[in-house]
Amino acid sequence: MSTRCHVSTRKGLFTLERASAGWTISRVSFLGDNCTLAMHDPRSGDLLAALNHGHFGVKMHRSRDGGASWQEVATPVYPEKPPGYVPKTPVEGTPVDWSLKLVWALAPGGAGEPGVVWCGTMPGGLFRSADGGDSWTMVRSLWDDPRREEWFGGGADHPGIHSIVVDPRDPRHVTIGVSCGGVWITRDGGATWALAGQGMRAEFMPPERQFEPNVQDPHCVAQSAANPDVLWVQHHNGIFRSTDGGASWTEIEGVEPSAFGFPVAVHPRDPDTAWFVPARKDEQRYPVEGRVVVTRTRDGGRTFETLTKGLPQTHAYDLVYRHALDVDETGERLVFGSTTGSVWASEDGGDSWQTVSTHLPPVYAVAFEKPA
């Protein structure tokens, strides 16, 4: 079972360790700085952290000693606009600025391609590093696809790529989630892309456009390690599941207390088991009735349990962002963190939860260290 977890927050990167008495905070890196995301690379042990300094912009740092020391590494750089280029005006009215606003996804490449790291950004960029983050190359095949210009921000000022899943059977098979721009799949390492997402529904669009794949808002895309053809999406409008690698999707309806939320985690050994952290739907975004709950299905979405043991059930207004729920390689340990700085951990697949902290800075992301 994983014994380390990295918690990215508005005021630094907190490392949790599983000590004999339970989870404790063992290290704080970048204290005071806005750490928006961190990734552990199971192949090398490297840690990559994305910071957003506000005044000074987005920066990337890497640690090769488990977080004891950090070095600043390269930041993805957007290309120059071609001469005479006239940008399309998207739904939100402002053409995309070809400039990095946020690192929104980090994912190690396949087991057989050490050093490869994928990075999703706002606005709408996908970058690939072949050297563990020393340099980044934009995936132009996606950026130059005219459909990319139709993407729009889902609650943010810019569209962005927040989910990247690499097929453990074939690292050239990569699936990404875009808000708002649906689910895209490459099977040749990024040379060509297919827009997937048949069956997804976007309530926020006019009726005749609600099923267009390129307008969908999949808040988070998760792939089953046990059966990579099974994908789960926590979408703006509910929960969707695919059993054919993302080509088609089925909406899971009737999920209580809400099918709205941001994160989803899938059991590493059971594609039918997934966890969600629901909230009142989009215009309000707080736990239904002020009760923090985790919902779990063990039968592919036919039924859900509402897990509450150890979680606050009165006047709790913790919202959990899309990267702020993770499951370890056994499927037994889970961690999630909230916008109000609470972190909870489970060691029994979500049946019960222990409070790790209730007063961290706002949590953006949690990531277990997992074996290769």
Partner: protein, 89 residues
Amino acid sequence: MPTVRFTANIQRHVACPPRAVDGATLREVLDAYFASNERARGYVLDDRGRLRPHMAAFIDGRQVEDRQHLSDAVPPDATVDVVQSLSGG
């Protein structure tokens, strides 16, 4: 030769001591400074070479006009200050 000074807050991330550098425009002055301190460039300018949205530059106390191309003239004996714009309070 103009002198460039940087906000104290940047020093925690990347050392930017004051220095006299050649240049007749803000772009030339900053390029000259960053030539020997490349890491600092990305803290002041974005990936398009523009002044970052919440950064400000002053030439002898006068706020620069051209944040995109940095074409404001810099007199030979000027002092250039690169600071944060304290937007948001």
